[in-house]
């Protein structure tokens, strides 16, 4: 039994219009996504904007309604009985993309970090204060900050307040939705390394959603690449970066910038090759609607979206 297993997850958004607001069509934001995460590992979900990676994360935690499919967390199907949700929420937490809008501007840091504790644990005032100070120290903020308001902090500090809030209930799984994309590059590393540290300390599992391949390579053990709501390729970090099979993955990997000027020509040539391959093999990799085919296993850890019988 795996820690988190997502089976054929579909999230559709209705397009309403016409007379009486009828449902005209659906947008298939997530269209049959399956993956599994082992405890203590980091799973990366990569894709361009609009590929459905954030929707997948939000569907797992329950912010988006799941149209069909299963989300099995520690053996419990989260889609089955809604009553169980509240208990599971304690174990699944989320770090949000935008540290500016994810903290209530009218609340002090104390109230922000204490919110989950107040919901689930009955603590006295002093115990609560102690826990909050403890959490803040864990994320590298001083005890004095508990009475400040969010706007008094920098972006990196705010994101760390968000992380403190997410780890307050000692969750097992954290869904990190582009946790650093709103941050300055110099602060990104700081937050990411910190996330790695607490992963070891608290035995956390991450579902790491990002569009930045460099970060994903740094953080993740396994990666899934999404395109238009479907998986195009999944495998270990090694598989994806060294042996990309799908043309979409190849293009992504080719797009990673190389700062060494000596490789400039080589890089340019490589990109041109990939571009040429993309142009003549697009029909092979994508079906008539421009969507990816179902995944096929090419090794024990590596799956690629290929047409039936292709290699």
């Amino acid at each position: 039994m795996s820690f988190l297993e997502v089976k054929d997850l579909q999230v559709h958004f209705p397009i309403r219009g016409g007379l009486l607001n009828r449902k005209l069509d659906v947008i298939r934001a997530v269209d049959g996504v399956s993956f599994r995460i082992e405890q203590g590992k980091t799973y990366g979900l990569v894709g361009e904007s609009g590929s459905g990676k954030t929707t997948t994360g939000r569907a797992i935690i329950g912010l988006n309604t799941i149209t069909s499919g299963q989300v099995i967390f520690e053996g419990n199907d989260l889609t089955e009985n809604k009553n169980k949700r509240l208990d599971v929420r304690k174990d699944i937490q989320m770090i949000f993309q935008d540290p500016y809008s994810s903290l209530n501007p009218k609340k002090r840091v104390l109230d922000i970090v204490a919110e989950p504790l107040r919901n689930y644990e009955r603590l006295s005032r002093n115990e609560l204060l102690e826990r909050v100070v403890d959490l803040l120290e864990k994320v590298g903020l001083t005890a004095e900050s508990i009475l400040k308001y969010p706007h008094e902090f920098s972006g990196g500090q705010r994101q760390r307040i968000g992380i403190a809030r997410a780890i307050a209930l000692k969750p097992k799984l954290i869904i990190a939705d582009e946790p650093v994309s709103a941050l300055d590059v110099s602060v990104q590393a700081q937050v990411l390394n910190f996330m790695k540290d607490i992963q070891k300390d608290l035995n956390l599992t991450y579902l790491f959603i990002s569009h930045d391949l460099g970060i994903v390579k740094h953080m993740c053990d396994e990666i899934g690449i999404m395109y238009k709501g479907r998986y195009v390729e999944a495998g270990t970090t090694e598989d994806i970066f060294n042996k990309p099979q799908h043309i979409y993955t190849k293009r992504l990997v080719a797009a990673i910038p190389d700062i060494d000027p000596r490789n400039r020509e080589k890089q340019k040539q490589f990109r041109a090759e990939v571009q040429a391959e993309y142009q003549h093999s697009f029909d092979y990799y994508f079906n008539k609607e421009g969507l990816a085919y179902p995944l096929q296993s090419i090794s024990a850890t590596h799956w690629v979206a290929m047409p039936e019988g292709g290699s």
Partner: protein, 301 residues
Amino acid sequence: MEAIKLDIKKEKKAHKSQTGLSILWREIIHDKLALISLIFFIGITVTVFVISLVLDLDEIVRVDLFAIHEPPSRTFWLGTDYGGRDIFGQLIIGTRNSLLIGFIVTILTGVIGVTFGLISGYFAGHLDNVMMRILEFFNILPFLMLVIVFVALVPKYSTVSFSLIMTAFLWMEIARIIRAKALQERELDYIQASKTLGTPNWKIMFGHVLPNLSSLIIVILTLNLAANIGLESGLSFLGFGFPEDTPSLGTLLSYARNPQTLQDRWWIWLPAAILIFLLMLSVRNVGEALKRATDPRQRRG
């Protein structure tokens, strides 16, 4: 732990100046007109409520045929009306009644409107749809006509029941504004975050969304207070407000419908007219200053 507690007190002082309420307050301090208006309004309110404690209403509204239409004198500071009743006493009691109605209606419409709008906007979807149709139903009701019917149906009504009937038709505008704001607010990440943290919906609505709308609510309520005082006076002037034995600013003003009173006996209606004008103007000045404060680009302070 002790050190932290000590810090709390110190920090509280240092960070108090950042809240929305203090921005509103600063704007009023910087706008001299609004500050004077606020002092004037509070002054009038306190004076009227204190003096009306001393005055005896029965004494004032008792008809005295030997003192009809007296001009201002030492015994009757502002003269008397056609029943020989003291105008000054009526003015004080009347202002108190008008202000009381203004306050009650504003607070009641505020509570109903904010709750309705918050629920509608926060949950959105089907519930919002149903609630908005209910609101629109109230919106199309002819306010004036229904108040007239009410006055005709209920022979003896009090400040409270009159306030209730006004409230029934005046909460919609607030509800709409709050709903629009709540719809905006619910999409923000911090609301989503609260949901993932397991906070119940009612707590998110009143504990998270509401504080973020507080300055807006204060502005709307202040501006509505001025409107409600005016509305009550208007209704009483038309004869659909309070009866004569419950004086209000409007009933005093309505004496001016008599051409002779209008021309020769200024002391009956002029003070009330000036007071209505000044009260509404001052509340409005404060309201406009608060409104400016909610938009950082218009702020003066």
